[in-house]
Symmetry: C3
Subunit: 344 residues, 3 copies
Amino acid sequence: MRASSLAEKIGGVFEGPGNPELDSIAPLTEARDAQVAFLHNPAYGKFLELTEASCVVLTKESLPTARRFSAIVHPDPHRAMALAVEILYPAEIEFEGIHKNAHIDPTATIGNNVAIAPFAFVGPECVIGDNCRISSGCVLSAKIHLGPNCALHPNVTIYPNTWLGENCIVHSGAVLGSDGFGFAPVKDGILKVRQVGKLVIEQDVEIGANCAIDRGSFTETRIGRGTKLDNMVHIGHNCVIGEYCLIAAQTGLAGSTVLGNRAMVGGQVGFAGHQKIGDNCVFLAKSGIKGNIPAGSRFFGYPAKDAMVTHRENGYISRLGKLFKRVKEIEEKLGVHEEQQEEK
Amino acid sequence: MRASSLAEKIGGVFEGPGNPELDSIAPLTEARDAQVAFLHNPAYGKFLELTEASCVVLTKESLPTARRFSAIVHPDPHRAMALAVEILYPAEIEFEGIHKNAHIDPTATIGNNVAIAPFAFVGPECVIGDNCRISSGCVLSAKIHLGPNCALHPNVTIYPNTWLGENCIVHSGAVLGSDGFGFAPVKDGILKVRQVGKLVIEQDVEIGANCAIDRGSFTETRIGRGTKLDNMVHIGHNCVIGEYCLIAAQTGLAGSTVLGNRAMVGGQVGFAGHQKIGDNCVFLAKSGIKGNIPAGSRFFGYPAKDAMVTHRENGYISRLGKLFKRVKEIEEKLGVHEEQQEEK
Amino acid sequence: MRASSLAEKIGGVFEGPGNPELDSIAPLTEARDAQVAFLHNPAYGKFLELTEASCVVLTKESLPTARRFSAIVHPDPHRAMALAVEILYPAEIEFEGIHKNAHIDPTATIGNNVAIAPFAFVGPECVIGDNCRISSGCVLSAKIHLGPNCALHPNVTIYPNTWLGENCIVHSGAVLGSDGFGFAPVKDGILKVRQVGKLVIEQDVEIGANCAIDRGSFTETRIGRGTKLDNMVHIGHNCVIGEYCLIAAQTGLAGSTVLGNRAMVGGQVGFAGHQKIGDNCVFLAKSGIKGNIPAGSRFFGYPAKDAMVTHRENGYISRLGKLFKRVKEIEEKLGVHEEQQEEK
């Protein structure tokens, strides 16, 4: 596709020079001939002189007068890139229509233009919205609701009474609506409390590979609209995750924790149960969170504190060797014997 | 169902007043009309005045004389709740009988009243006990033993020679009996040591979604009766997990570690390999455990120590800023130059 | 099998005494009659006097003159063990040939002597090498390449355009080539950037149960030859993992990190994104790695540092209580009031 044509399709202004044929996308620093790159962050403007991309999409402010590449000016290069991927890379179509080797319960309701692959199981009273894609090995046990345009990648499992809104994407191996860790300690052992609540996943949510999200114990677990989970995220029963959160891989939330809107959560973070986390919080990777956290916080560490505090404490820890030495020197000066102290 | 009827079925004493119709269970603080709540912990007795539950199950000691709700007195409200769930919430039945699209090897032995869903695979020489349920996408490779009343949720995989006792529940995506991380470092690379041991899961065990439990390398890996694993727990080869343990999500045990009975393990805990952990230990979330731990310990931290010690050390760390300041003031008083010290 | 016959098959020298019949392998300290044990590490030579193994494989240097067991001398007992497993334990064969209930797209190319189980899905334009085994529930979506002799355990999912070299083993529930966590933050929410790169897995790689390895965003993610991943390892998009790495369970690498050859990574380690890690590094369990790490490093902690430094700092932390006391005693000696200090 010609650069001018791509510009038009992504809503940008073609500036030239030239009008190269483009076949793919690459980072500014790796792009070669016939590739288009995107300058999201003006700080990387320094790479514009070096890039070998045939075309670069950037804001008006970042456009250099002298340039070797053909430019497309766009107010939001991030959005432009998301659009360009759809245009330059055709989607792989692995299956179409409803395959005769899919199992579809006669009480299920299937929308228009739905694709269901061989060996997918759609159980009793499921309702599948228009344009949904259900891949091979997916199991929708019973009374599942999929809004329109949902895509389930292979081998997704959904437990009964789970509700998904429109435009959700669920990656392979994810388990939605499984039983929470609910047990009654009794004298002669541990008694299971059957989990009978629901899982509600609002629209535009994406769930990573091998995630597990538990249903509510009696009420519901909820994932807010637009939220994205990376791979292997665990969400315990009765959690309520806000809107437009980004939760990185291998993070876990114990039961009944409420995470505010627009949280940014790093990888391998753990949240204790029954906590309340305000909106717009940031949690750095591997943090262990306990306690209610006010909106706008930036936390780090194990146990996690305000990130500035943890950074400062980590600085002190790295200077402990010198501190021990300094105290010893003071003791020597004062005639106090450290060894004696040590034995106390 | 009337409250008096529920009281009878769960072995409680109906005390009234009234005899409301009940349709579901809810926490004391969220219950509304037609719901029953349970007071497990006398400390929450303060909520009895405020609850809008139509009925509350509690011990004789917690029963208030004046009350707006209809009461059921029960010696163990935790157990009562587990029973009430079974009565008030009918189980979802997604499939019944042995489906023609299940694959069952002719050498497998299937008990009475077994349900096997479409696209389940039951391989050679498997033995399936009475009343087992095997959901869609489950793969029982070969020589698997399921005791009576086991339930395998969809997409569970079981490797050869795995043995499960009665009443086990395995959630979706769990992998039982996979190869452990056994490799021989040789001069020209890394040689796989084929894993040929067994996995034994005793009765009444529950395995969470997307767990992975390795088979023994030569001997066996074992999960003790009544133990419950939350989602995404990893158990390495040759581990022996005791009875009635509770292991929270995303915890991992490296190979050959022995965990005693009734362990309580928080989320994201890691155990080194070849450790011996006594009975009745508690490990707080995200702890990193190395070393043999005596029975009855309560450990915390990374690296983990006695929880009291870690709490105390964390307290010291939070006061390090002041300690540095105090030492500096002493140095000033003594005429020692801190800057000079710092450069050493 | 007779010990002398086993010696011949594994390339060892049979030394006797006797020539016992052997049926299985066990650790030196657990072996009984009719079992063969292996002495990998001369440090464990002390167990030779106590072992009840009928036969022990060891190096010439470790061979005791007086012994109760029949000996096989081998230059590399680790390699000998890997070979002996193959001889003494026949592989389980759960299925053979291409099952009529497998779904194979007519555009797929299937090599010689391939086994594909019921309910496996092999999509358009897949190329399956000779002697591959594809178990039940595996989904090879489209344009997948499997080199010869690959084994996919049940319920593995592979996304489009993934390439595996020869002799790879993939355990159940693993997801290869899933979408990375690529999103464009835009004013009105979060926009998905469709992931269109590839995943390349070189020869002799083993992937543990329930791992998730993301495809490249535009270019590729790559796992080097001979590398072994334990269970539930997460590899983000665009990572490049070197050759002959050993990565233990529940470890995660955020996107675009480059891990050098022969890395030894403990369990539950986390790597930040966009880091460069040199060859021959060791990372102890649960470490949190940020920053570029030079070749040959041994790192530990959260945040991770040189393991010696972290060990030393942990030592200081365990002595903090005494340090606080010492400083207080100095203050008392100098007539400074600690309480006053504390309030500042």
